[in-house]
């Protein structure tokens, strides 16, 4: 259904154009769930935006994003508008900024239905009420004309999910959908997304920096760093093997429940370099304890490690033993 080949995105910076996504490949079939994980600046959100055709001004994308055989990159906006919100929908991190504060929530949920499916106002209202009920908004009929500020954070995120689902999309992209929420709410929202994905046979791309969120929600995971996929594979395999040094660093740095108090968490040396300063070779070179000279010269090739499991590292054997 979705094929991404050699996707590259460059951004203008004060020191010239910098590559924020450096050659991304993946494919997604109906009903599959994929996680993108990494820290700020690794290119995960840009990738999500590129799929939606919503890249920020000045960003240039090259490569190919094919949707059911149709090339999306370089399509005129009018063409993309027919897909966006209809076949491909997105849930954003901040529900308060994703919702328009001056429109009643019912109208916002009904909008894509009227726009894409040409429903009448009455049909759209009935459908929107059903959607709001499905995502767990109590008394949806009465609250149809309420405004976003009258809802709590968790409810607002439910409303944006209802908006995204309105046209029964084939692909749902959720960019950090629970980062602004409490753990108990996070649980509920993730359960809701998983249930909806299973129920409607949608594909899901979940972008998150939280390993736990990814572990519980998606089948396959891409670990991203510096605009490249450093490790990818079935979530269980990637989390079990932690083949790439960066994946290991991420895991080690995560505070765990039940760890002894006062122990220091291992940290990853240094900081994420600015885009313009990314090394020419492996983006993780220099911060990685296993760095050798060869790491800095060329981007390591993708090494197959098992069924569907790959990592981009030339020092894999250095640790595997």
């Amino acid at each position: 259904m979705l094929h991404v080949d050699n996707l590259r995105i460059t951004l203008p910076t004060r020191r010239g154009r910098a590559e924020a996504v450096r050659g991304l490949d993946f494919a997604l079939a109906r009903g599959e769930t994929l996680g993108l994980i990494g820290e700020s600046g690794c290119g995960k959100s840009l990738t999500a935006l590129a799929l939606m055709g919503l890249l920020p001004e000045g960003a240039q994308a090259s490569g190919s994003i094919r949707w059911g055989g149709q090339e999306l990159l370089g399509q005129p906006d009018a063409q993309l508008c027919r897909l966006r919100g209809n076949r491909i929908a997105m849930v954003f991190q901040e529900p308060m900024t994703a919702l328009n504060p001056v429109h009643a929530i019912g109208r916002q949920v009904a909008e894509p239905l009227r726009l894409h499916q040409g429903l009448t106002a009455r049909q759209a209202r009935a459908e929107a009420v059903a959607l709001l009920e499905r995502v767990g908004i109590a008394q949806a009929e009465q609250r149809f004309d309420a405004y976003p500020h009258q809802f709590s954070g968790g409810q607002r995120q439910r409303i944006t999910i209802a908006m995204a689902l309105a046209c029964g999309p084939d692909l749902l992209i959720a960019d950090e959908p629970t980062t602004a929420l409490d753990v108990t709410l996070q649980r509920q929202i993730l359960d809701l997304i998983s249930a909806l994905v299973a129920e409607r046979g949608m594909a899901l791309i979940l972008v998150s920096h939280d390993l736990g969120v990814i572990a519980q929600t998606v089948q396959r995971t891409l670990v991203m760093y510096g605009g490249t996929v450093v490790e990818s594979g079935p979530t269980r395999t990637v989390f079990g093997a932690q083949a790439h040094p960066y994946t290991r660093g991420l895991f080690a740095a995560r505070p765990r429940l039940g760890a002894a108090r006062g122990t220091h968490l291992p940290t990853i040396a240094g900081t994420v370099p600015e885009l313009a300063d990314l090394p020419a070779g492996c983006p993780f070179a220099g911060r990685c304890a296993l760095t050798i000279d060869a790491c800095r010269t060329a981007l390591p090739p993708t090494v197959a490690l098992g069924p569907g499991h790959t990592a981009r590292c030339i020092r894999l054997d250095g640790h595997a033993a």
């Binding site: 920096h209 572990a215 505070p255 940290t267």
Partner: protein, 256 residues
């Protein structure tokens, strides 16, 4: 803290009806010894942040007392309270929103001294440099502006600002929740080091149980304004008694 309560009147629901009251905190007691850390967990609306505001004397309790180093903060006359503020400082969640973008790092970090009228200019500058060094920033960073720093470095600046008055207590409201995983680990490590070196006490407010478990000696689990369970984090999280604590622990995403 003794018998701390805070309630907020809500808008009337009917024109002549009584104003409903929201009880944000209902009767809270706890002690925090020097060099120890207390964590407060709970979801939005459980009263965590109200507690932080009361401890920081940014808000007054409806009932109860907050005593720090033997002084009841909410009964101190205003000048005395201002002077007492050097002993307790706060670190906020959002390192992007809590630093004035138009001020240099040196000015930001020295501002508490300026506000307290504690030190002449030259000493302020020295103390700012000292605080920056304590959090692992370079002396040259003093003349930069906040936008030149990453999220983790900004949180270090915010911690340096809290340290400059040489406080005994730091109230940290979600200090790492806006940061990336690897940066979280660095900032938590820094907070641990500072505690060991300076004997600070922390009141750490967080919804992340793992972060609290990492840094704190004791945890209070808050739900709807009351403490439903308290104890050492390891024991509490491995054998939660109260249904709410159990729900919280169960909601934490597991890796495998």
């Amino acid at each position: 803290m003794r018998g701390l309560e805070r309630s907020y009147p809500l808008p009337r629901t009917r024109l002549f009806g009584p104003r409903p009251v929201l009880h944000a905190l209902r009767g809270l007691n706890f002690d925090l010894a020097a060099g120890r850390s207390l964590g407060v967990v709970g979801e939005s609306g459980s009263g965590k942040s109200t507690l932080a505001r009361l401890v920081m004397a940014l808000d007054t309790p409806s009932r109860g007392i907050v005593e720090l180093l033997g002084r009841d903060l909410h009964r101190l006359p205003a000048p005395a309270l201002r002077a007492a503020r050097r002993d307790f400082q706060m670190v906020f969640q959002d390192p992007y929103g809590s630093l004035d973008p138009r001020h240099t790092v040196e000015r930001i970090v020295a501002e508490p001294l300026q506000a307290l009228g504690l030190a002449p200019r030259t000493e302020q500058r020295e103390r700012a440099a000292e605080a920056l060094a304590q959090v692992g920033l370079r002396a040259g960073d003093a003349h930069k502006y906040p936008h030149e720093f990453s999220g983790g470095q900004r949180q270090r600046i915010a911690i340096a600002r809290a340290l400059i008055t040489r406080p005994r207590l730091i109230v940290a409201d979600e200090p790492v929740s806006a940061l990336d995983v690897s940066v979280q680990a660095q900032v938590l490590g820094l907070m641990q080091d500072l505690q060991e070196r300076l004997g600070l006490s922390y009141l750490l407010i967080s919804h992340d149980l793992a972060v609290v478990g990492h840094l704190c000696d004791e945890v209070l689990v808050m739900h709807q304004g009351t403490v439903v369970e308290r104890g050492a984090p390891q024991a509490l999280f491995s054998h939660p008694e109260h249904p709410y604590t159990r729900a919280l622990v169960a909601a934490v995403p597991r890796l495998l």
